[in-house]
């Protein structure tokens, strides 16, 4: 029964793999629910700060932040890339990276230089290997990153923008459409997009304490941080749902594989029994 043993051990190993993928699927499912909750919990802040920014755009402030001024000729581009820390989440990261590479090669053609800040170790190893200019990174952020883990990477880029080292800042992350669909998204963070509704009812301005510059700068910094934070939370929700789907299909594949192997095993077993029987019968006939 040499064949039988081989197939049986193969079935056992596939079964073991299936147990692991099942467990990962369930873990991802429960984590996804939590990540989605956190994602929605972060929304009010983003909405409120956007309101405040919109008000600010209507106010006639004597100070205009450099973040709000678009620069006509761009030479260098900054980019914050959000990826996952772990793999085994289907094509989530590779879809985003493919989209990014397409964008980067476009920029290369326009001979724009690129500076990257990277969040998440998958993008760190990918873009590190490409030899691009990585100026800051944060990896191993875990499932519940606080905003303090992201401050560093964001601040690097904001300072570079303020100093004129980069002329535009983008955020690349996955957008959570629903638990089956995630979509790579590359958005402009800086310069801030002016809101469309510019009609003014009356002429007013805030009272700023201590002064306009400090207050507005801090507000805009918080705004960008909240956008990046939102992106990271969304990416984590994407990661968990993508992993859940990937692990589900892996478990399903394992099931079909086991069925096939079982069939092969049964056939082999039957063949060997038939052979033995015919040997005995023909042996008896010969006597």
């Amino acid at each position: 029964m040499a064949i039988g043993k081989e197939i049986r051990s193969k079935i056992a190993s596939v079964k073991n793999t299936q147990k692991i993928t099942r467990a990962m699927e369930m873990v991802a499912a429960s984590k996804m629910r939590k990540a989605q909750n956190r994602m929605t919990a972060a929304r009010p802040y983003a909405r409120k700060i956007r309101n405040v920014i919109a008000h600010l755009a209507h106010a006639h402030s004597e100070y205009t932040s450099p973040f709000m001024i678009a620069r006509p000729d761009k030479k260098r581009i900054g980019m914050i890339i959000v990826s996952t820390d772990r793999g085994l989440c289907g094509g989530l990261n590779s879809n985003l990276f493919r989209e990014l590479l397409r964008r980067i090669s476009q920029w290369k053609k326009q001979s724009l230089e690129l500076e990257l800040c990277i969040i998440g170790s998958k993008a760190v190893s990918f873009f590190g290997r490409l030899g691009l200019n990585v100026v800051g990174q944060a990896s191993r952020i875990g499932d519940t990153p606080g905003i303090e883990t992201l401050i560093g990477t964001v601040k690097i880029m904001l300072e570079k923008y303020r100093d004129g080292e980069i002329d535009e800042l983008y955020l690349a992350s996955n957008e959570f459409v629903n638990s089956m669909t995630q979509k790579p998204a590359i958005e402009v963070l800086l310069p801030l997009q002016a809101s469309d509704e510019t009609e003014l009812t009356h002429h007013w301005d805030y009272i700023y304490e201590p002064e306009a510059k400090a207050a507005i700068d801090q507000l805009l910094t918080r705004y960008i941080e909240s956008l990046v934070y939102q992106g990271v939370m969304e990416n984590i929700a994407c990661e968990q749902s993508a992993r859940m789907v990937a692990m589900k299909s892996a478990s399903d594949n394992a099931t079909t594989l086991i069925e096939e192997l079982q069939l092969v095993y049964n056939k082999a077993r039957q063949a060997s029994i038939t052979q033995e029987l015919s040997e005995i019968v023909s042996g008896a006939a010969a006597v």
Binding site: Y45, V52, I151, G152, E209
Partner: protein, 142 residues
């Protein structure tokens, strides 16, 4: 009926309070401010401290915030609370950390690269092994 003003207190991680209040006290960076309905528009950073709300009906509610921003519009007060302790030097430390990580990665790249190479070789070997097994099986069956 007394006049009220809508107050929203949010942090990046969750919504803390949303509702009406008669009066809001907040620790602005230049000193505590009290805001009544129809206050003139105001924008200011907040220092760590206590935000107190006088709710309709005389009750008071207090929240601790570790800094943030305060925006006042005539009918709405928005408090954007920070979740983390923020200070210029702390932010600076975070920047340094992010930069260091990037540097370390740059110098460490050989190790990572080797790992990726080994991984690629391994997957190739696995694929070869699989096709050999498949061939063998087919040969066994026919």
């Amino acid at each position: 009926m007394t006049m009220t003003i809508h107050v929203d207190i949010v942090s990046a991680e969750k919504e803390i309070f949303s509702g009406l209040a008669e009066m809001v006290f907040a620790p602005a960076i230049m000193g505590e401010v009290g805001i009544a309905p129809h206050h003139t528009p105001l924008l200011t950073p907040l220092s760590p401290g206590e935000v107190r709300l006088k709710l309709p009906g005389g009750k008071e509610e207090a929240f601790y915030i570790s800094g943030g921003m305060l925006e006042v519009q005539p009918h709405v007060v928005t408090i954007l609370s920070d979740t983390a302790m923020r200070a210029e030097d702390l932010d600076e430390a975070a920047v340094l950390k992010a930069k260091e990580e990037a540097d370390r990665q740059l110098h460490d790249r050989t190790a990572d690269f080797e790992y990726a190479k080994v991984l690629a070789e391994q997957s190739e070997l696995a694929a070869q092994l699989q096709s050999i097994q498949r061939l063998r099986k087919r040969a066994g069956r026919s």
